[in-house]
Symmetry: C2
Subunit: 281 residues, 2 copies
C-alpha cells in the first residue's frame, strides 16, 4: 500500500510525505493527535492534521525557539515552556548549565504521554526522570496567572492561532506573560510564516508591542512547515537580542547545535524585506 | 477537474500545487518545458518536471542570484548570465545603473521564447527591446571559451546537475569561468539545497576552491524549491562578499527589492551549522 500524507498549506498548495506506519492515532479533549512514520523525515507528529514536528527537521525549530533567548539573557535560571508537549524545547533548555529549573506547562497530557512513548529523541527530558524539569498538565494562561514575577525566560511553543492556542496570540495573554517574567525577562513565541501569514504576524506584533518595550522578529528555515520559512517573536523587558547578545558565551557553548550558532544568531534577525514589511510599525 | 501537480523532491516527499491551466507544454532538443497556471503561485515554469520558477516566489531567487555580487563588485559593467532563460536574472541586473551590458547565454531558445510569451513579468528585459541586453542562444561552455577576460560578474543560473546543466558543476567549467572574468571578477552560481543536497554541495565547493581564491556559500529561502532552503556559491578573484560589501551603496539603491536588503546581504552568509558542515574544507 503506497500511502501518502498531504498537508494542505492553503486550498491550493501543500507538502506530501510518504507514510509507512501509524504509531498512534487518537483524540484528546483538545485535539486530534497522530504520530506516523515517514521514510524521509522519520517519525512525525500531527495535531488536527497539521505537522508539528518530525524527527529529521525538529532540530531547527527547537534550536531556534530556545537558544537565542538563553544566550541573550545573562542568567536564565528559571525557564517556562508553554505548550511544547513533544519535549524538544525542554531538551534544548536543559543543555544550558545556567538553567536551574525548566518547567513545561502543556494543556494536553496525551501529547506528552505519546511523545514520551513514540518520540524518545525529543521527549527524553520530559519522561519524569530529569532533575531540572518540572511538568504541569495545565492551561498556560491559568498557570502564568498564578506564577507572576517568576521566570527569566518564557517560551511560547504553541500551535497555530486556531484551536486551543488561539488565546496565546492576544494582548491579554502577553500582559500575563509580561507579569510572569522577572524584571529583565525575555519571552520567545513562534510567530508563523512570513510568507503565508502576514496578517497574523501584523496582529501578533502589534499586540506584543503594546506590552513589551523590545520586540523583534527572527527567522528560521523549517522544511516541513508551510513555505519552509518560519519565524519567532523575541519580546523582552531589558535585553536586546542583537545588541545584548553574548556572542562569546554562545561561541563557547559545550554542546553541538546542528542549526544554531553564534553567527547565525545575528543573521536570523536580518530579515527579507517582505518579512520586515509584515511587521512594520 | 481538480488538477494538482506534485514535484517529488525525493522518492518520499514532495510539494503539491493546484493547477488550473496549461499554457505551454512541449519538448526542445534539450528538455521538456511546461508552463502552467496555479492559483497559489501564479504562473509556473517546469523543466523536465522540476519547478524552475513561479511568479509569486521568483523574486527571492532572482534578488539573491543577482544583487549580492552586483553590490560587492565596485563597477559591474559587463555581466553575463549562463542559463536563466526565463529572464529574471537579467531583469535584476539591468536595475543596476553601473551595468553597461547584460548578456544572456541560454542553451535552449525555446525557454526564452516561451518565457517572453507567457512570463512577461520575468522576461520583460529579454524580449529584444532592452538597449543594455544582448541575447545568445548558445552553449555556455562554448560561449565563455570564446570570451575570456571579458566580464566583471558571471551568474550561473542553471538547472540541477542532471541533464543539460551537468557540466556547469565541474572544475573544468569553473576554470573557464575564471578565465572569462576580468582580474577582479565575481561568479555566483546556484548551489542547490543544503538540506537535501549535501554531497552535490561538497563536490561543487571543492571544485570551486580548486579554482577561486575566495569561495563562500550564502542562503535564501525559496518556498517552491526542495526543502525551501536554497543556496548560492559566491566565487571571487579579489572581493570578499562580506568584508568588501559596499553596504552604503546597497542601502542607497533606488529600486525596491522584496527580498534583498543591505542587512539581509550580511545575514545570508551566516549559515546554519549543518550547511557550514556540508562545505567544510
Amino acid at each position: 500500500m503506497d500511502m501518502w500524507y498531504t498537508e494542505k498549506h492553503s486550498k491550493n498548495v501543500g507538502i506530501t510525505l510518504r507514510v509507512t506506519r501509524t504509531l498512534f492515532s487518537g483524540k484528546s479533549e483538545f485535539q486530534q493527535l497522530d504520530i506516523v512514520d515517514t521514510p524521509e523525515y522519520g517519525r512525525m507528529m500531527l495535531l488536527d492534521g497539521l505537522v508539528m514536528c518530525t524527527e529529521r527537521d525538529e532540530f531547527v525549530y527547537h534550536d531556534m525557539i530556545a537558544h537565542p533567548a538563553l544566550f541573550v539573557h545573562p542568567a536564565p535560571k528559571q525557564v517556562l515552556v508553554i505548550g511544547g508537549g513533544d519535549g524538544g524545547s525542554i531538551r534544548e533548555i536543559v543543555r544550558h548549565p545556567e538553567v536551574e529549573l525548566a518547567t513545561l506547562c502543556e494543556i494536553d497530557g496525551l501529547v506528552v504521554r505519546k511523545s514520551v512513548e513514540h518520540l524518545p529523541t525529543l521527549a527524553g527530558a520530559i519522561d519524569g526522570s530529569h532533575p531540572k524539569v518540572k511538568l504541569h498538565i495545565d492551561d498556560g494562561l491559568a498557570y502564568i496567572r498564578e506564577h507572576q514575577n517568576a521566570f527569566d525566560v518564557i517560551l511560547v511553543d504553541s500551535t497555530d492561532p486556531i484551536g486551543p492556542a488561539v488565546g496565546l496570540f492576544e494582548e491579554d495573554f502577553y500582559r500575563l506573560v509580561f507579569g510572569a517574567l522577572k524584571e529583565d525577562g525575555i519571552m520567545v513565541a513562534q510567530s508563523e510564516s512570513p510568507f503565508y501569514h502576514a496578517q497574523i504576524q501584523r496582529d501578533m506584533f502589534r499586540n506584543l508591542r503594546a506590552v513589551f518595550p523590545i520586540v523583534e522578529m527572527y527567522q528560521a528555515f523549517i522544511p516541513t512547515y508551510p513555505s519552509g520559512l518560519w519565524s519567532f517573536a523575541f519580546a523582552s523587558k531589558k535585553y536586546h537580542p542583537v545588541r545584548d547578545f553574548d556572542r562569546e558565551r554562545a561561541a563557547k557553548r559545550d554542546f553541538h547545535t546542528k542549526y544554531y550558532n553564534e553567527d547565525l544568531h545575528l543573521g536570523a534577525f536580518m530579515l527579507p524585506t517582505f518579512a520586515r514589511e509584515n511587521i512594520a510599525d
